[in-house]
Symmetry: C2
Subunit: 119 residues, 2 copies
């Protein structure tokens, strides 16, 4: 087991990547508890900094993430979750990926669902 | 131009993905200046928190990253650099990706170069 370098708030960034398409879906933060829950259950868990709580992705929307592997970077301070995304999209806006825009604001991502029907 | 939500230290995480293979290569932090330099030059720039300075990836190793696009996430607080990686690998350990290990410590990544010959 690799020692993870959590920051002063007990957090690490976790990148979430679609295991089949390779698409980067989102980035969120994890605590030690979130990583343990992810390993235990096979569903991606994160820590919501705004709500200040452990968060199972898809608990509200049903769009859970099945985690097939967790990778650690060279410094032990970033994780990579490899997942199968239920419901077509990871982003609360309805896009498949949270990274659906370029820096200039052009929308290049694919809409996967209607957020009004899900939330 | 999307307003970026830099944190209290003026930083944002940037994920770096190989534009051709889809492989996630690394995560590093950027300042407003690093993003501007990246856009200006077409080469990935980051901010080194340990050295406390703007950092052109590959300045020492020659393993620069040609940035073809920059994506922004829904909250404007994470970037995704799409790059072509020179020299075969992004990681200072010689692996192609910094995410070359599983959580249990198994090495699953591909060695791309010998770091002793590069640094």
């Amino acid at each position: 087991m690799i020692d993870l370098a959590f920051d002063e708030n007990g957090l690490l960034p976790a990148i979430t990547q679609d295991d089949e398409t390779g698409e980067v879906l989102m980035l969120a933060y994890v605590t030690e508890e979130a990583v343990a829950k992810t390993e235990e259950t096979g569903f991606a868990h994160y820590y919501s900094r705004s709500r200040d709580e452990l968060w199972k992705k898809g608990a509200t929307s049903g769009h859970v993430q099945h985690v097939s592997d967790i990778r650690v970077d060279c410094d032990g301070d970033t994780l990579l979750y490899l997942v199968q995304q239920d419901g077509g999209g990871a982003c609360h806006t309805g896009y498949r990926s949270c990274f659906y825009r370029t820096l200039s604001g052009e929308v290049v991502g694919e809409k996967a669902f209607d957020p009004e029907e899900v939330y």
